[in-house]
């Protein structure tokens, strides 16, 4: 059974409460979700936001390739991945992933494996950290 893969890049806030669960997961006994959140500190300095940049077409392609590769070792039924770009405030999600599998070990392994590979190969960057002052709109 081929793993269904859904990947999205967005500049909009990721809302985990209405993020679509993987389709075709009626045989799934496990749904494993991970959300990567922007922390309030970067390289020892307090920040208010991170700005992410992506090579969009290649990022989606590489994420799909990673999923297809991992599916041979950890055959989940489906996976949904959403990565946000642009300016992301502290506390907001930068990435959301949900994997559906028959058993939890498979789903956990896919999610963990994906995050490891994302941080090695997917062309997305934390372009710069922003302070509160930098986030304020300029007075007209």
């Amino acid at each position: 059974m081929n793993m269904q893969i859904e990947i999205q890049l967005t500049q909009c806030p990721i809302r985990v409460d209405n993020a679509r669960l993987p389709a075709g997961s009626s045989d799934s006994g496990a749904l494993v979700e991970f959300t990567g959140v922007v922390r309030g500190e970067e390289k020892g300095e307090s920040i208010a936001a991170l700005e992410y940049e992506a090579y969009n077409a290649m990022a989606v392609r590489v994420m799909r390739q990673i999923c297809e590769s991992l599916a041979t070792l950890h055959p989940c039924h489906a996976v949904v991945i959403v990565h946000r770009t642009g300016i992301i405030p502290v506390g907001d999600a930068a990435i959301y992933i949900c994997a559906a599998a028959k058993h939890r070990a498979t789903a956990f392994a896919l999610v963990t494996g994906f995050m490891d590979r994302l941080k090695q190969d997917v062309p997305i960057w934390k372009r710069r950290a922003l302070t509160s002052a930098q986030l304020q709109p300029r007075a007209k």
């Binding site: 090579y55 190969d121 372009r127």
Partner: protein, 79 residues
């Protein structure tokens, strides 16, 4: 061919993209020679940059021609 710069490479190059003429296919060394001639500040990053051709990572043996989209991929930091 179209050259794309990302992250700190945009600062080094002073732009997000550039056009490079290649009437004949060129290899990675020749590509870098031309890039460094136009954007010398890229030299400091060369050792950590991976090349991608048409959205696929390529190795040292790759050749590049007019019509290709070449991206200079610095160390990534997604997630």
């Amino acid at each position: 061919m179209r050259i794309l710069f990302f992250a700190q490479l945009k600062d080094a190059a002073g732009c997000a993209s550039a056009e490079l003429a290649a009437p004949k296919p060129i290899n990675g060394e020749q590509l870098w020679a031309e890039l460094l001639r136009k954007f010398p500040a890229l030299g400091a990053h060369r050792r950590t940059v991976r090349l991608a051709k048409n959205s696929e990572y390529v190795g040292q043996e790759a050749t590049f021609t007019d019509g290709d989209e070449v991206a200079l991929i610095p160390p990534v930091s997604g997630g």
